[in-house]
C-alpha cells in the first residue's frame, strides 16, 4: 500500500505535510527563509535547522541523533546557497511510531524504523514550502527477515522478527544519501538491500513510462510522491482552467 499523504494540513507554516505508512505517522512543518540568529548565521548559505519531536516525552539523545542524520540528508538536496544568511527551519513531529518508541523492537531499531518517514515528510514539506531543492529525494525502510528474505516497507509483524533493518534514502540520480542499518548482516545482504531500496526510492517519483520498475507492473512501485505533488500543483491551478 502506498503511503498516505496530506499536503498543507497546517495554516501557520510556509509548508507542511503529514506522512503515514504502515509503521509511522510524521507531521512536518517548514518555515523559511527566515531571519537567522547571529550565532547560527552562515555568510554564503542558508542555515538548515532540524527539530525532531517525539510522540511521547521530551527530546533526548535519540532525537538529537535523528536530527544529525536528517541534517546531512536534507543538506544534500536543499539549495542552501540561494538564501545566504537565512534560516530554513524544518520541524518534525512524530505522531505515531512502531511499538511506542521501540520498546518491543530491541535497541536501535525504533530509531532506524522511523527515519524513512521523517525524511519523506520533510521532503514533502520542503517542496510545499517552496524551498529550492536540487532534486527529489525519497527514503524507504527495508527489513531482512530470519530466512534472509528482503521486505520493502515492512509492517510491524515483520519488524519484530527481522534480522536487520535498513533505512535508505536515494536522490534522483540514484545516489545514496542515507544509509542507517541495525542488526546482523553481511556485505552481500547489504548490497542487495541497497539495490532494492534504490529501486523503491526512485519509483516514488519516477515519471510515467520512464522507470523500468513501472513496466514490471509492480504494485508497490506506484510513484506516490510524484502523484501527491502533481495533484497539489493541479489543485493550485484549478482556477485557471475554469476561467
Amino acid at each position: 500500500m502506498p503511503p498516505q499523504i496530506t499536503t498543507s494540513p497546517l495554516s501557520r507554516p510556509d509548508g507542511s505535510a503529514t506522512y503515514t505508512d504502515a509503521l509511522s505517522t510524521v507531521l512536518a512543518a517548514v518555515n523559511g527563509p527566515l531571519e537567522v540568529s547571529r550565532r547560527d548565521e552562515l555568510p554564503s548559505e542558508a542555515t538548515l535547522e532540524i527539530h525532531v519531536r517525539p510522540a511521547a516525552g521530551v527530546g533526548g539523545p535519540r532525537e538529537r541523533w535523528l536530527e544529525a542524520v536528517l541534517h546531512a540528508v536534507l543538506r544534500s538536496v536543499v539549495l542552501v546557497h540561494l538564501h545566504p544568511r537565512a534560516l530554513v527551519q524544518v520541524s518534525l513531529q512524530v505522531v505515531r511510531e512502531p511499538a511506542g518508541g521501540g520498546v518491543g523492537l530491541g535497541k536501535g531499531r525504533g530509531e532506524v524504523a522511523v527515519l524513512p518517514a521523517l525524511v519523506n515528510a520533510a521532503v514533502l514539506a520542503l517542496v510545499g514550502g517552496g524551498v529550492g531543492l536540487e532534486g527529489m529525494l525519497s527514503a524507504v525502510l527495508v527489513a531482512v527477515g530470519g530466512k534472509g528474505e528482503l521486505v520493502v516497507a515492512p509492517g510491524v509483524e515483520v519488524l519484530e522478527g527481522c534480522e536487520s533493518l535498513h533505512a535508505v534514502a536515494c536522490a534522483a540520480g540514484g545516489g545514496l544519501v542515507m544509509d542507517e542499518s541495525t542488526g546482523r548482516f553481511d556485505l552481500g545482504v547489504w548490497g542487495e538491500v541497497v539495490e532494492r531500496a534504490r529501486e523503491a526510492c526512485l519509483a516514488a517519483f519516477a515519471s510515467k513510462g520512464e522507470d523500468e520498475a513501472m513496466a514490471n507492473g509492480d504494485v508497490e512501485a506506484e510513484p506516490w510522491m510524484r502523484q501527491v505533488l502533481e495533484e497539489k500543483v493541479r489543485d493550485a491551478n484549478a482556477w485557471r482552467e475554469s476561467t
Binding site: 518555515n31 516525552g57 520541524s91 513531529q93
Partner: protein
C-alpha cells in the same frame, strides 16, 4: 530572537473600533466559539482538538516506575507542554516562551491539582511500584485560545486512554500486553475545562475564544476552569488592566454554559469513537459475559 509579529496600528485600531460597534472580524458573536472539532487517533490516548485554525494534539502514555517514597499510595501524573516552531516560527526550541509558561501553569492547576485524575488508582504496590501517566501536549497550529483548546484535548485524551492491566502475586507484578488482556480506562474524578475571557474597553467587552490577533490587542484576560457541576478549579488573571469583580462573576455563569457544551461534546465524540472501534461487536460480547 524570533517573535510573534506585532499587528499593525491600522489592525489594532480597526479591531477595537469594530468591538465598540459590536462586530468581530470573523463575524462571530462575542460569546461564540469558533468551530470546535475533536478527533481521536488509532491508538488509545491520542486526541486532537481544533478551535478554528488552532490545533492541539495530546498524547497520553504510561509506564511502570518506582513509587516515590513520600507518596506511597499515589501514582505519578505529569503534563508536559513544549511549544515548537511547528505552531509558529516565533517559538524557539529550548527557550521558554511566556505563552508556554502560562499554558503549563493553567493546565497544571486545572487538571492536575484539581485531582481530575485519581492518582491513587495508579498505585500497583504501595511504596514500590506505580504507573507514571504522562500527557504530552503538542500545539500544532497557533491561532489563539491555546489554553482552552489544550485543556479540551487533554481531558479528552485522558478519558480515551487505556492503561495496561496488571496482576499482583505476592511481590511479583505482571503487566499484561494489550493483546493479552483488554486495557483499562483511567479513573477520572471529574472533567474540568478552561474558558478564557479576553477583555477590552476597560472590561466592558468580553470575548470568548479569541483569535491570535484578538489576543494581541486585548487589555487582559481572565481564565476560568470548572467542571460541569460549576465547581471552580482555578481563576487566573495574571496581567493586564484591572477588571471589575462583578464582571468576573458574570464570566463564571458564561463559563459554566460553555463547559457543559465541552463536556457533552467530549462524551459524544468518545461514544462515536468506541462505536467505530467496536466493529466486530467484541465489546458487547465482553460486557455480556461480565453481566452473567
Amino acid at each position: 530572537m524570533p517573535r510573534e509579529a506585532e499587528p499593525s496600528n491600522n489592525a489594532k485600531a480597526f479591531l477595537l473600533q469594530a468591538l465598540r460597534e459590536n462586530v468581530r472580524l470573523d463575524g462571530r458573536a462575542f460569546d461564540e466559539f469558533r468551530q470546535i472539532d475533536l478527533s481521536f487517533g488509532d491508538e488509545y490516548g491520542v486526541a486532537t482538538a481544533r478551535l478554528g485554525k488552532t490545533k492541539v494534539m495530546v498524547r497520553v502514555s504510561s509506564e511502570v516506575v518506582k513509587a516515590s517514597a513520600d507518596r506511597k499510595f499515589d501514582g505519578v501524573f505529569t503534563i508536559s507542554t513544549e511549544l515548537s516552531p511547528i505552531a509558529s516560527p516565533a517559538f524557539e526550541v529550548g527557550r521558554q516562551d511566556q505563552a508556554e509558561v502560562l499554558l503549563s501553569r493553567i493546565l497544571e492547576k486545572t487538571i492536575r491539582r484539581s485531582g481530575a485524575l485519581d492518582t491513587e488508582s495508579l498505585c500497583i504496590i504501595a511504596g514500590q511500584k506505580c504507573f507514571h501517566v504522562r500527557a504530552d501536549v503538542h500545539v500544532l497550529d497557533h491561532d489563539g485560545s491555546l489554553v482552552d483548546a489544550s485543556c479540551l484535548a487533554l481531558v479528552a485524551a485522558l478519558m480515551h486512554y487505556r492503561r495496561p492491566d496488571f496482576e499482583v502475586r505476592g511481590e511479583e507484578v505482571q503487566i499484561f500486553d494489550p493483546r493479552e488482556r483488554e486495557p483499562i480506562k483511567l479513573s477520572m474524578q471529574h472533567q474540568p475545562f478552561c474558558v478564557t475571557f479576553g477583555y477590552y474597553e476597560d472590561g466592558s467587552v468580553m470575548l470568548l475564544d479569541s483569535t491570535l490577533l484578538e489576543e494581541q490587542c486585548r487589555e487582559g484576560e481572565v481564565m476560568i476552569s470548572m467542571n460541569r457541576f460549576g465547581e471552580i478549579c482555578q481563576i487566573a488573571k495574571y496581567s493586564g488592566e484591572p477588571v471589575d469583580a462583578m464582571s468576573v462573576l458574570n464570566c463564571m455563569n458564561v463559563a459554566l454554559e460553555k463547559v457543559k457544551v465541552f463536556d457533552k461534546l467530549v462524551k459524544a465524540k468518545l461514544e462515536e469513537d468506541e462505536k467505530r472501534r467496536d466493529v466486530g461487536g467484541l465489546m458487547a460480547e465482553l460486557s455480556a459475559e461480565n453481566a452473567r
